[in-house]
Symmetry: C2
């Protein structure tokens, strides 16, 4: 994550990971989820927080989720149904569950199919927020598979290249691949220039946005460095056509097709979308694991050891700095903004759930 | 394609598509391919030329291919072998064939598996140039499937974000999806800012490169508009970190893992890479085709009908302008640069193959 998005030192409250986890499980249980559902939801948020992906952890997401449960817009006890199934594919209706509640199980279904047949693809409809695609993709990597996860949320945020009307959300996608002795590869992105939640985060920490990160309401990319304006649209990654925004746009469109057209949900910008797709590909279907790991470790080492350009300390690969952050935060606690901790404590007190974050 | 990459009007020779096809088949046969192999190879190049993807048609590729056959570096009569197979996956050794020769059959194998089991994934090793990923992905779309194709060529061209040493080629990827009454969706990209062949094309037509399209030999992105320099590295799409080059880089890395680590070829930058992966996902495994097509047509129509931003005529979707170009070129002929036609004619005369391009 860019430095400016980090919580400023003076505003940090370091919360031990197990305290954060227990508190999060407690409020999910209070929202009506069963024990294992609450544990699953908390694990997604805490894993994201450990990785430093604040935008998809407790800070930005938990209060939204709790509000939606409170308003009856999420189903804490879903009756998840299989609507169509083949050897390698399943279409699952999530019955209004939160994405982070049902998506991990969808990926586990894909993994089970891949163990038997080589690959598995599970599509989920009717679920709430995915909580980032990376967590789910990683589940496959832990089983020595290539994991892929994506979601096609609504269509009111992001412009297609050359367009002045929004057609997409942030349309996240992630791929994960295991390694033996190197930290695992996890490529986890929004197909916008910047994750929607990072814009909220920039507003909270008072950071400027970069040129071509957003467009004005008439569809013109804003090419200056500006604070977050009141009204704006997001742009596909690349930002402008000259900088390959058509690649971000095309990727969003593809994600929308797989998540929403292929699942019967309909186009995100017409129906609100929300379909999610999880793919597991068994590495051993192609090659012995030992051979794969030999190459994978050499590949990742080679990327890390690339000579850096002047002005840069080192070359990273996707997942590396998040893995390092996980080690540090497991040791030192998660540095939440004090506003977040205060909200969490006051929410818990208000609804009568006992938590201990300090 | 950006206007500046088109062949200038004064240099165009319009060649009727069937003449171009017959001549191309003839030189492939002369290079040693059998009838059906020559037909397949010509179909890839001509389809790319019809779509206006000059960078992957006769102009840039045919003379390279013929030279490599001439030098014995491509095998015109490969003994393609299945090395590992499951219900849904196949690892194929292409025995040194040209990519455009064997890749379409690899995708057809994936399609056959998807018809039976829902999805199919076929990985190919030891093949030459893929000739663009789009053609192969489209084969699945023609069978009412989602098609995906990718390749992990060498590692001497493109820098990882913050790096000063190359680690990747152009690492192309494509997804194709069928539609009923709208032109089909085909998202077909290099994961660099610009396809390597487009840089050659820019040099040929004297066009400048855009800011952040390439880097100097020390890894610094060149932020001015410049003619193609003698020495340069390519950058992942996005160009700079602020413009999401880490997304292009991550995508390249993922493609390299699937094409090269997962297939035993090894990392592209260590071994020369060259693995290729083809995935077919049967839409009917998830939803009835009629329902899919209803949504898909509305989705694509909605994209086309997006209000354009000021200064832009319309909003395209991936595959639309290439489809329109195909209609025009089928009618009017393919506008090759006269230098290309002259080369083709002199090559054919030299090797004693009769062709007729005028």
């Amino acid at each position: 994550m860019l430095e400016r998005f980090k919580v400023p030192e003076k505003d940090r409250v370091y919360v031990p990971v197990e305290k954060a986890r227990a508190a999060t499980e407690a409020v999910f249980r209070h929202a009506g989820l069963d024990e294992s559902g609450a544990r699953q939801c908390a694990d997604v948020l805490i894993t994201n927080d450990l990785r430093g992906v604040e935008s998809h952890g407790i800070s930005n997401q938990l209060r939204n989720y709790l509000r939606l449960y409170g308003e009856g817009k999420l189903n804490p006890r879903p009756n998840v149904r299989v609507e169509r199934e083949t050897d390698t594919t399943t279409l699952v209706n999530s019955d209004g569950a939160l994405g982070i509640h049902v998506a991990p199980n969808a990926m586990r279904m894909a993994i089970a199919k891949a163990k038997k047949h080589g690959t598995g693809t599970v599509a989920v409809t009717g679920a709430g927020h995915l909580g980032g695609a990376g967590y789910h993709a990683s589940l496959a990597a832990k089983e020595n598979m290539i994991g892929q996860a994506m979601a096609g949320p609504g269509g009111s945020q992001t412009l297609p290249t050359f367009g002045a009307e929004p057609r997409f959300g942030t349309h996240p996608i992630a791929w994960a691949a295991p390694a033996r002795s190197q930290p695992p590869f996890l490529f986890d992105i929004a197909t916008t220039q910047v994750a929607g939640n990072k814009i909220q985060l920039a507003r909270r920490v008072g950071a400027d946005l970069e040129p071509a990160w957003i467009a004005d309401k008439d569809g013109q990319p804003i090419l200056d460095r500006v604070p977050v304006p009141d009204e704006y649209y997001q742009l596909p990654f690349g930002g402008t056509r000259e900088n390959s925004s058509h690649k971000g746009y095309g990727m969003m469109a593809m994600i929308d097709i797989m998540c929403n057209a292929m699942t019967g949900v309909g186009a995100g910008f017409l129906t609100g979308g929300g379909g999610q797709v999880f793919v597991a590909t068994d590495i051993q279907a192609f090659i012995d694991l030992d051979d794969y790991f030999d190459w994978m470790d050499r590949f990742l080492e080679g990327l890390r050891n690339t000579k850096p350009a002047a002005g840069h300390e080192r070359v990273l690969y996707p997942g590396l700095s998040e893995w390092e952050e996980t080690q540090a935060r497991t040791r030192d606690g998660i540095p939440y903004h004090r506003e977040v901790v205060e909200w969490f404590e006051s929410y818990a007190a208000e609804v009568g759930v006992e938590i201990d974050l300090r």
